[in-house]
């Protein structure tokens, strides 16, 4: 059964028309969002950068979901199953593990941030550990890890454009122009509306994505001859030995030695996720402490959806696609599958879902990175007396800068390097876990010990990740590497975290022994259970302003 159609040949008019139409709709919503649910002065960073911290359960569900399940998820997770099989399915285990973790520690972060007006995780670290240096380390890690993540959203859009025949033009200017236009519009509405824009667009995004996925998991297996056939086709293809390496590409069950990589990828990714500033932003923007916990159960619906999205990779195999027919880029698997399977009007909707799915996280990520820069670099080190208005302005401009940096990244380098840097970003961001999550529970660890552990984890993780090579890639070829002195592989981020923790404990012991100054803790134990209900809602100073 072959369905391989015309991936990358000629412009697909109907699809392009629908994608453009939906994109325009979303852009208009993005600009209108500036006037939506305004609670205070637009000049305040809490307004622009955290949506006035006014979001209730319903919006939060869309915002966090829209934030975490990015265009890249929709493209890369199935691509990973397409290329290697069962190991790629760790993404489901990872999104299961995320929710218990969120349930445990995020209410504490919410409480202490609300009590002290923290906008970023680095704000909290500074307040808790009394260390600008440690806070700077957290902020820089956050920005460095987020940048390639934004770039990857563009890779997601690029793969859709490629499949619609827009990206296949020989002229490179023509090829990049649609991406450029999409990004200018994204940058403009993020600038004017702040976090409110992605919050509103997330509704449209999720509606399109849920419709697409529901149809895809019913309709495509019907056309391909059922799930049994899909799994056996995938199994057969993955078992085929590669002519260059003489090894099978993978299998639909975990091969011997892949158990620990699978488990550590799931745990490490889950622990890393809410260290990303863009993930925390959705939590800090909520109205009440209980909003997030209440939401966790409903957020698992996204995890279920991700599980089915992942299986689209196997459907692409069963549909007859090979790496070669995908233009030597497995990232095209899902867009190409949609293009080949669906009638063109529905393919247009499905592809629009991916493109719009890129806009929401890209906007939130750029806001998060901008907030980090403003609060923890600009105010802390450059201009301590910056007014709230100036802080907001700086954040807005930095959000533009960050996005165009990501654009330059994708246009200047290739998509592969964006993916490599994103993998590296996961390794780096996990190293902030002890300072942030540890800090939520204890002041036992000395600020300099946390900094030493962070540095050790970063250096170890970056070096090991860089050294991974394969037949096709010299560096960053794998997320898993041998644990030193063993024959067992594990996710590099987790091994680096162990290095981080060992250094942390040893350094902590020494620093406490020599009685190094521990720094001032601005928080008190009760702050971690703080809720606005007790305090007659100081935050909700509803004075609608027309500017």
């Amino acid at each position: 059964m072959k369905f391989v159609a015309s991936a990358g040949s000629g412009v697909h008019g109907v699809e392009l028309g629908i994608v453009t139409g939906l994109f325009v709709l979303v852009a208009v919503l993005g600009f209108l969002a500036a006037r939506w649910r305004r609670t205070g002065s637009q000049r305040d960073l809490l307004e622009w950068g955290l949506g006035g911290r006014s979001f209730g359960g319903f919006i939060t569900w869309f915002l966090i979901g829209g934030d975490l399940y990015t265009a890249y998820t929709f493209v890369a997770v199935p691509a990973s199953l397409f290329a290697t099989g069962a190991l790629g399915f760790f993404a489901v285990g990872y999104t299961i593990l995320v929710w218990p973790l969120v349930f445990i520690f995020l209410p504490r972060l919410w409480s202490v941030s609300r009590k002290h007006g923290y906008v970023t995780p680095a704000d909290f670290v500074k307040g808790r550990h009394g260390s600008r240096g440690l806070s700077l380390a957290i902020a820089v890690t956050g920005i460095v890890a987020t940048m390639p993540y934004i770039a990857l959203q563009l890779v997601g859009i690029q793969s859709v454009l490629y499949v619609m025949g827009v990206g296949s033009s020989s002229s490179s200017f023509e090829q990049d122009l649609p991406l450029f236009i999409a990004f200018v519009i994204l940058a403009a509405f993020t600038y004017t509306s702040g976090l409110r824009a992605p919050a509103i667009i997330a509704f449209v995004k999720d509606l399109l994505i849920y419709v697409t996925i529901l149809v895809a998991i019913i309709y495509i297996p019907m056309r391909l001859g059922g799930w049994t056939h899909i799994f056996s086709a995938a199994s057969a293809r993955l078992a085929t030995k590669s002519p260059t390496t003489h090894l099978p590409a993978g299998s639909t069950l975990l091969a011997h030695g892949n158990t620990l990589p699978f488990a550590t990828l799931a745990i490490g990714s889950a622990m890393a996720l809410f260290m990303y500033p863009h993930a925390q932003i959705g939590v800090l923007a909520t109205k009440r402490r209980s909003t997030v916990r209440r939401n966790v159960s409903a957020l698992t619906i996204y995890s279920l959806m991700l599980g089915f999205v992942a299986l689209l990779g196997y459907m692409a195999i069963a549909g007859g696609f090979t790496t070669k027919t995908l233009g030597n880029n497995t990232q095209h698997a899902v867009p190409a599958l949609f293009d080949a399977m669906f009638p063109s009007w529905f393919a247009g909707i499905a592809l629009a879902a991916i493109v719009i799915g890129a806009l929401v996280p890209a906007a939130i990520m750029s806001i998060a990175a901008a907030n980090l820069f403003t609060r923890n670099i600009y105010v802390d080190f450059i201009k301590p007396d910056a007014s709230p208005k100036l802080q907001t302005d700086v954040s807005k401009w930095v959000s533009l800068l960050v996005k165009f940096g990501a654009l330059a990244f994708v246009l200047g380098l290739d998509a592969t390097s964006a993916i490599n840097f994103q993998l590296l970003g996961g390794v780096l961001i996990l190293q902030t876990f002890p300072a942030i999550v540890g800090g939520l529970y204890t002041r036992y660890f000395h600020r300099w010990a946390l900094l030493a552990g962070w540095a050790a984890g970063i250096v170890y993780g970056a070096v090991v990740a860089w050294k991974q090579s394969s037949a096709t890639q010299h560096h960053f070829a794998s997320q898993v590497a041998l644990i030193p002195w063993t024959h067992q592989k594990a996710y590099i981020a987790v091994t680096a975290l162990v290095v981080n923790l060992v250094v942390l404990v040893v350094a902590n012991f020494i620093l406490r022994a020599v009685k190094a100054p521990p720094g001032i803790d601005a928080t008190s134990p009760a702050d971690y259970d703080h809720d606005v209900e007790h305090e007659e809602a100081v935050e909700v100073t509803a004075k609608p302003e027309t500017v």
Binding site: I104, T228, F231, L253, L304
Partner: protein
């Protein structure tokens, strides 16, 4: 529910229940060898796949249970504290019984 209210302890059955609800999915995911198998199949899905998808649904249910357990527990603590303040003569206020861990 009779007589003077007893102060809530740090570990209550409700909190223990919530902890178990949160730990169970974590343990289930980490125990990879228990589900790395093709059989039993369900609707064409190998066990490895349908089990994990089922686990997502179960996690959602357990999180609802944990949320309500914590909510009821916190409600009881709040009521006890309010009752204690109302009953106590003299300057009531800052006896922070609530400062216990989550």
């Amino acid at each position: 529910m009779s007589g003077a209210p007893t102060p809530p302890r740090t570990i209550t059955p409700l909190r223990l229940f919530a902890t178990l609800c949160v730990l169970a999915p974590t343990v289930a995911v980490i125990a990879v060898p228990t589900y790395n198998s093709a059989t039993p199949r369900l609707g064409g899905f190998p066990f490895f796949y349908w089990y994990q998808l089922l686990l997502v649904v179960l996690t959602g249910i357990l999180m609802v249970a944990a949320f309500w357990a914590i909510k009821i527990d916190e409600g009881r603590r709040k009521r006890f504290k309010a009752a204690a303040i109302a009953a106590a003569p003299g300057p009531a206020g800052d006896d922070d019984e609530e400062g216990v861990a989550e």
